[in-house]
């Protein structure tokens, strides 16, 4: 009697958490839960978004499970069957950080960012440049003719210029909207 109990407990340890049968083509998740690869594959297919471990809801994915190879397992290659079980991962002792794949991905990831930034920055650039132009034109004039003028006059001039540019900005925005 105790022997059969032991036996059932032993096999239960290696049961797939989905089909409740002894795991075939077994894979194990990073969180330590055992599944048949076909069972887990089907679950991952059911939920393409937000893939979680069926047992503990930890994040899980095709690349984050490890195949288990026991001694004297099935003679047929599991990968011949559909769906294939993912390969085991062997980490190289020194990972090449700036690999060609990594660099490529980096450029690709940044490109759209640059693009959107350029478009977004265009009106600001326009404002900034026109402002500078005005400032350049205004400043010599001040120096030449209004040097003696009091600070009040100076402020008025500034206010006028800022009002002018506020209007310009409004008109420009309107034009942007119309176009």
């Amino acid at each position: 009697m105790p022997e059969t109990d032991d036996k059932s407990e032993d096999t239960a340890t290696f049961e797939c958490n989905i089909c409740l049968d002894t795991a075939k083509n077994a894979v194990i998740s990073m969180c330590g839960h055992l599944f048949c690869w076909p069972c887990l594959y089907q679950w991952l297919e059911t939920r393409p978004q937000g893939q979680v471990c069926p047992v503990c809801k930890a994040g899980i994915s095709r690349d984050k499970v490890i195949p288990l190879y026991g001694r004297g397992g099935s003679k047929t290659d599991p990968r011949e069957k559909l769906p294939p079980r993912p390969q085991g991962h062997r980490t190289e002792p020194e990972a090449d950080y700036a690999g060609p794949g990594g660099g490529h991905r980096y450029v690709f990831g940044d490109n759209p960012h640059f693009l959107s930034f350029g478009i977004g920055a265009f009106p600001f650039g326009f404002f900034a440049s026109s402002f500078n132009l005005a400032g350049g034109a205004g400043n010599p004039m001040e120096h030449q003719h209004r040097d003696a003028a009091g600070p009040a006059d100076h402020q008025m001039q500034d206010q006028l210029v800022s009002k002018l540019f506020l209007w310009l900005a409004c008109i420009f925005l309107l034009w942007l909207l119309m176009a």
Partner: protein, 159 residues
């Protein structure tokens, strides 16, 4: 073709295994109504449930209907209260529909009939006041027959 037949056998095999383990190690207050299992394909089970001792439902008896689709265990079972006694509970509608997240979006194939039953027993046991959900009348009038078609809004995490 191949996946279809294999998922079909997975369904039956798994239901057989669940049935055996529930009969071998039954949880207190939860048992399979064996009359419902005769002569059909295991696709519908009726579970007899008793209210847990020391709770508002002590001494009451309920029946749960489980319907399994061909995609079980990847798809959750359809679970409703049936029979003459539907528990009066803020998460159970008077038509037997149950608002419980593991029955829809939080379902996992590692859950089982037994796990669902235990969740429902504990949902009932944590109840402090017997009352129907606030939107019961409207929901029962307008809902689909299948509770899985309801877009549930889970708001009470205390259960």
């Amino acid at each position: 073709m191949e996946t279809n037949s294999s998922s079909g056998s997975l369904l039956n095999k798994r239901l057989q295994k669940e049935l055996m383990s529930m009969q071998r190690e039954p949880s207190p207050g939860v048992s399979i109504n064996s009359h419902t299992l005769h002569g059909n394909s295991l696709s519908q089970w009726i579970i007899d449930m008793e209210g847990a001792e020391g709770t508002l439902y002590e001494g009451e008896k309920f029946q749960l209907l489980f319907k399994f689709s061909s995609k079980y265990p990847f798809d959750s079972p359809e679970v409703t209260f049936v029979g003459p006694n539907i528990p009066v509970n803020p998460h159970v509608y008077s038509n037997g529909h149950i608002c419980l997240s593991i029955l829809t979006e939080d379902w996992s194939p590692a859950l089982s009939v037994q796990a669902v039953c235990l969740s429902i027993v504990s949902m009932l046991s944590s109840c402090k006041e017997k009352k129907r959900p606030p939107d019961n009348t409207l929901y029962v009038k307008t809902c689909s027959k299948n509770p899985k078609k309801t877009k549930w809004w889970y708001h009470d995490d205390s259960v």
